[in-house]
C-alpha cells in the first residue's frame, strides 16, 4: 500500500498540497475511502499525536499537520458518507459560565480535530442551557468543559446536574479540564474523565469512546 503510506507521510510532514494530491490519486485508483482515512490520513496523524505527546513536536508544527489532514478529509468525507461511514466521534466543547479563557479549550479542539474527531466549539462563557441545547441539537458522544478559575469551575457541576434533569446524562460522556481541575474534582462531580492537558485529552476521548462509563483519567 505505497500510496497510503505516502499519504501518511505527507500528513506527518504537514504538506497540505502533497496530501491533497495523494488523496485525489488514491480516490482515482479506487482505494476504499475508509482505507484512505484510516491507513492514510489517520495513520499519519497518529504518529504526529504520539510525537507531540512525547514532546518531540511543537504545536505550531502540529497545526501545519492539521491543515494537511483537513485538506485530505475534505476530499474523503463525502465519499465516507456515501459508504455510510460512522464518524470517529463528535465532541461538543466550551468554557463554562463566567470564564473567558479560550486558549486551553482551543488547544483541545485543535488536537481533537487533528485526530479526526468532529468538534463543535461553543466558545467561552457558556451557560448550562447552551450545553443542553447543543447536546439536543448535535447528539455528541462527549461534551468537554474547561475552566480556569476556582470560581467558575463550580459551574461544571451545574451542567452535569442539568444533563441529569433532562435525562441526557446517560446519552453523553462528560470530560473536564483546566488549571484548577483535578482528577479528584472530576470524581466528585461525577464527570467521566479529566485530562491534565490538551495532548492527553485526545487519549481520554479515545478511551471513553471505547469503554463503558467510568471515571477515566490520563
Amino acid at each position: 500500500m505505497d500510496l497510503l503510506q505516502d499519504i501518511a507521510l505527507n500528513v506527518q510532514s504537514g504538506y497540505t498540497e502533497k496530501t491533497r494530491k495523494a488523496v485525489e490519486q488514491a480516490v482515482a485508483e479506487g482505494i476504499p475511502a475508509n482505507d484512505i482515512l484510516h491507513k492514510g490520513l489517520i495513520a499519519g496523524m497518529n504518529v504526529v499525536a504520539e510525537r507531540f505527546k512525547t514532546g518531540q513536536m511543537f504545536l505550531p508544527e502540529v497545526l501545519a499537520v492539521a491543515g494537511a489532514m483537513k485538506a485530505g478529509m475534505t476530499i474523503v468525507r463525502p465519499l465516507l458518507e456515501m459508504t455510510n461511514h460512522e464518524s470517529l466521534g463528535k465532541i461538543v466543547i466550551g468554557t463554562v459560565r463566567g470564564d473567558m479563557h479560550d486558549i486551553g479549550k482551543n488547544l483541545v479542539a485543535i488536537m481533537l480535530q487533528g485526530a479526526g474527531f468532529d468538534v463543535v466549539d461553543l466558545g467561552t462563557d457558556v451557560r448550562a442551557d447552551k450545553f443542553i441545547e447543543a447536546v439536543e441539537r448535535e447528539h455528541p458522544d462527549i461534551i468537554g468543559m474547561s475552566a480556569l478559575l476556582t470560581t467558575t469551575m463550580v459551574h461544571m457541576k451545574g451542567v452535569i446536574e442539568a444533563l441529569e434533569k433532562k435525562n441526557l446524562r446517560e446519552k453523553v460522556k462528560v470530560i473536564i479540564g483546566g488549571a484548577p481541575i483535578s482528577r479528584n474534582y472530576a470524581q466528585e462531580i461525577r464527570a467521566d474523565g479529566y485530562a491534565r492537558d490538551a495532548a492527553t485529552a485526545v487519549d481520554l476521548v479515545r478511551t471513553l469512546l471505547n469503554s463503558t462509563r467510568a471515571t477515566a483519567a490520563v
Binding site: 504545536l59 463566567g98 476556582t150 470560581t151
Partner: protein, 459 residues
C-alpha cells in the same frame, strides 16, 4: 498624552532588587528605596460568587487578610503590600469589588494601629472588556463598568491601581499557538500598545481624581500564556522568549502615559521596564510556584522591589491555609534580599540569582542584566511601536543565538532551528509600520474589530 522614552534610565546604572531610580512613597511605605517588600495575593477556593454567597465571600477575604497579616506580625515583618485581584464577578458588579476593597483596607488599618504593620493595597480589576465578542475595548457597558470598578475601588481604599489588560489578545492568542511572530508583533506591539495608550490615560486620570497611584500593567495574557505553553512543551521556549521581549513594548506604554510603578508582579518584562523607566517593579519567582511553574524562579528576583506569590487559593495545607504559607515564604525571601542590601552585597546575591537560572532556559537567559540592558536599549532606540517590536525581537534572537554558540545558553537543536525560523520571519517584514499595519489588519480582519483600536500608523 504619551511621552515616549528615548533613553533607558538605568543604561549604565545597576539593575538590582530593592532599589529603583525613582522610588515611590505613600503612607510611610517606600517602594524601591533600598528594601524588598513582600506582595501577597490570595483568591477564593472553588465556590460560586453571586449575591447569595457574598456574605461567605467577604468572610473568606476577611479570614485571608487577617491570617496573612497576623503571620507577618509574628515574623516581625514591618511592611507588606496586599494585592486584591478582583474576580470577573467583582468587576462586573463593581459594588462587590468596592465592598471587599473597603473590608481589606479596614483590616490593614487595624493591623497598622494595633501592631504597627505598614501596608499598601493594590487593586486589580479584571479586563472584562473581553466579555463581549469580539471585545469592545473603547465603548459600551463593559468599558464603563471597568472604569467604574477602578473608581470605586480607588475611593474605597485602593492605594495602587493595576490591571492585566488584554488588548490585542484576539490576535496574539492564535499567533502563540501558531508560532507566528508577525502576529505577535502586530497583536502585542501594535494593537496592545494602542489599547494601552487609551486604557492607561483613563486609569491615570482616575488616579488623579482619587489620589490613588497608577501603578502598572502586565502582558500576562500574552507573555505568560506563551511561557506556560512553552513550559508544557507546546511552543518553543525561544519563541516564548521573543514574545516576552515584544510585550515590553506594549507594557511600557502605561509609563509613557503616566503610570509610575510598581509594575505588576506577573510581568517578567518588568525587568526591561525597570531599566527603561527607573520605576520600581514587582516580580515573582519561586515563591509564586503555587500559581504557575516557571523557568525563572531565582533570576526574576534580581529586579524585585516587591516580591510576590502571584496568587493562591484559600485551601488547607498541613501547616495552615495556603495564603499564610505564601506570606511566610515571601517574608523569608525578602529577609534574604534585605540582609544582602544591609551588608552591601546585594550585587553579589543578585549575581547568584542570575547564575542560578540564566544558562538553563532562554526565558531565564533574557533576564540576565546585560541582556536586559540590551533589550531596553533596543526599545528606546526606536520611536514607533512597530520599530520597537521588530528591533527588540531581533535583539532577543541575536542574543540567544550568540549565547547558545558560546555555551552560555543551553537549547536543543529543535529550539535552535526556531531561532533560524524567527530570523527569516523578521527578515521578511515590511519596512514601514504603515505597510505592516495595513497587511496585518487585512490578515486578521476576521479575528478582531479594528474600530476598537484606532491604530495610528504614524507615531
Amino acid at each position: 498624552m504619551r511621552n515616549r522614552f528615548t533613553t533607558a534610565a538605568l543604561d549604565s546604572g545597576a539593575l538590582l532588587f530593592g532599589t529603583a531610580k525613582f522610588p515611590l512613597t505613600r503612607r510611610g511605605v517606600t517602594i524601591g528605596g533600598g528594601s524588598v517588600i513582600p506582595e501577597i495575593n490570595f483568591t477564593l477556593p472553588p465556590m460560586d460568587v453571586e449575591q447569595g454567597s457574598m456574605e461567605e465571600v467577604k468572610k473568606i477575604y476577611l479570614e485571608m487578610i487577617d491570617s496573612v497579616c497576623r503571620r507577618a506580625v509574628e515574623l516581625h515583618q514591618r511592611e507588606i503590600i496586599v494585592e486584591f485581584e478582583l474576580l470577573p464577578e467583582m468587576t462586573l458588579n463593581p459594588v462587590w469589588g468596592e465592598e471587599i476593597t473597603a473590608l481589606l483596607q479596614r483590616s490593614l488599618e487595624e493591623f497598622l494601629d494595633r501592631d504597627g504593620l505598614q501596608s499598601l493595597l493594590r487593586i486589580t480589576p479584571v479586563d472584562i472588556r473581553e466579555t463581549s465578542k469580539p471585545p469592545r475595548r473603547r465603548e459600551g457597558r463593559e468599558v464603563d463598568t471597568l472604569f467604574d470598578a477602578f473608581r470605586r475601588c480607588a475611593r474605597a481604599g485602593g492605594d495602587m491601581l493595576s490591571i492585566e489588560s488584554t488588548g490585542g489578545k484576539e490576535v496574539t492568542d492564535p499567533s502563540i499557538i501558531a508560532g507566528d511572530l508577525r502576529g505577535i508583533i502586530f497583536g502585542a506591539a501594535i494593537l496592545g500598545s494602542a489599547d494601552m495608550e487609551y486604557l492607561w490615560e483613563q486609569i491615570c486620570s482616575i488616579g488623579k481624581e482619587t489620589g490613588s497611584i497608577p501603578a502598572g500593567d502586565t502582558a500576562c495574557g500574552i507573555g505568560n500564556t506563551a511561557m506556560i505553553l512553552a513550559d508544557q512543551g507546546y511552543v518553543p521556549k525561544v519563541f516564548a522568549t521573543v514574545v516576552r521581549a515584544v510585550t515590553a513594548v506594549r507594557s511600557l506604554v502605561a509609563y509613557e502615559v503616566g503610570a509610575v510603578g510598581p509594575g505588576k508582579d506577573c510581568g517578567y518584562e518588568n525587568a526591561i521596564l525597570k531599566a527603561i523607566t527607573g520605576f520600581p517593579m514587582s516580580l515573582e519567582g519561586k515563591s509564586a510556584a503555587c500559581a504557575h511553574f516557571s523557568a525563572i524562579g531565582n533570576i526574576a528576583g534580581a529586579y524585585a522591589d516587591l516580591w510576590s506569590n502571584e496568587s493562591v487559593q484559600q485551601v488547607k495545607l498541613l501547616s495552615g491555609m495556603a495564603p499564610v504559607v505564601s506570606m511566610e515564604q515571601l517574608i523569608y525571601d525578602c529577609r534574604l534580599f534585605n540582609a544582602a542590601v544591609n551588608k552591601g552585597s546585594a550585587g553579589d546575591l543578585r549575581d547568584l540569582l542570575v547564575d542560578s537560572d540564566a544558562l538553563l532556559d532562554p526565558q531565564a537567559f533574557i533576564l540576565r542584566p546585560d541582556v536586559v540592558r540590551s533589550l531596553a536599549k533596543a526599545i528606546v532606540a526606536e520611536r514607533e511601536d512597530y520599530g520597537r517590536g521588530v528591533r527588540v525581537a531581533w535583539e532577543a534572537v541575536r542574543l540567544m543565538k550568540d549565547a547558545a554558540s558560546h555555551g552560555e545558553l543551553l537549547i536543543s537543536d529543535r529550539e535552535g532551528s526556531w531561532l533560524e525560523r524567527m530570523e527569516l520571519e523578521l527578515n521578511g517584514l515590511p519596512a514601514t509600520s504603515m505597510q505592516f499595519v495595513s497587511e496585518e489588519t487585512e490578515r486578521w480582519s476576521d479575528a478582531f474589530d479594528c474600530t476598537q483600536y484606532l491604530v495610528e500608523t504614524h507615531a
